[in-house]
Symmetry: C2
Subunit: 201 residues, 2 copies
């Protein structure tokens, strides 16, 4: 963080993002006008304009907070690490404002090329992380992979988005296990060995 | 169709729905105002108001066209029938206005209880149909099911929505087969027998 940033500007930026998040949650993306956001944040409209000339950019910045923390730095046994990551993702998706931002990102990408670019960047990071994790699992002989790497996220994340954001249902450990099983044939003995040894080289 | 319906009213209703569909596709749900829809359809605003007092209702009627034709009347072998149904669903989701309506339905349901009710009705029909189809497959000994019936649609449809509407990617036959494999253990011999015999009782 650069020391040249005005702390007052940071405070108003944070207040505006919090206001936008709360409006999005309560009323949907149509409420994200400069006027409503400024009013809710208790700042002038000009301040909102200065940071985000177009309301869509505000939505993009809300989204940046949401998509990134999952599937980083895999650990052996990968199977249980994957389970805990999918649990965190499912719990996050169950938070209304995260579901709202996620579905708004998906929907907005259909019409707004800038949103589509942001969406594609998120998806690519997700794919890369899952490929790294499953490569580790394969190297550890935890799994004999049968799914195509390009399908990992559709197989794991697609059903969780469907269950949480579309069916408004909850994600059981059994459901997560079933999705993980869909990647290939897991070897119980190798998973147990990885668990005892910690993460192998 | 009742003969008491004024054919002129039907024509203007169809024109309004077509206009709304085209606006949704080109500009997103924010464009579905009474004024824009009336202009695009070449009818008076009052006509749009009369049929759809709130723009959300127009969106709901667009959605009614979209979700229903899949997974009806399963045939043995269920596996190949399921494959062809998922192919049709994937091809439909790849049509921009159907993807748009689907994501708008999902997103709108977060804020609008009426949209949520419509969404839930669609999801319930989908679940029921898949349960019927998989019950037939199990009765034919095509499959030893390992997934919970409540998860059928999340396992089959979730990844397809993810692939088509979120990743903007295409659905290969291999991808569909992989999803179908996720329901349980399929028996190749029983599938072949069902194929030779037509649909058993």
């Amino acid at each position: 963080m650069s020391s040249s940033i005005d702390p007052r500007a940071t405070r108003s930026r944070d207040a505006i993002l919090a206001a936008a998040r709360s409006l999005l949650l309560d009323e949907g993306p149509a409420a994200l006008t400069h006027q409503r956001v400024a009013q809710q944040a208790g700042v002038g409209r000009a301040t909102v304009y200065r940071h985000w000339p177009r309301p869509e950019q505000l939505l993009l910045d809300l989204m940046t907070d949401v998509d990134m923390p999952y599937f980083q730095e895999p650990e052996a046994p990968v199977r249980s690490w994957l389970h805990s990551q999918l649990r965190e993702l499912a719990d996050a998706m169950a938070v209304p404002h995260i579901a709202a931002v996620t579905l708004t990102l998906m929907q907005g990408a259909l019409w707004d090329p800038q949103v589509a670019t942001q969406r594609d960047a998120c998806l690519e990071i997700l794919n890369e992380r899952l490929e790294v994790a499953l490569a580790l699992a394969a190297a550890n002989r935890e799994i004999d992979i049968s799914a195509d790497p390009i399908d990992f996220s559709a197989i794991l994340v697609g059903p969780i988005i469907y269950r949480v954001a579309i069916q408004a249902g909850s994600v059981s450990p059994h459901f997560i296990d079933h999705l993980i099983d869909g990647l290939g044939r897991w070897d119980v003995d190798s998973i147990r060995r990885a668990d005892q040894n910690g993460q192998p080289a």
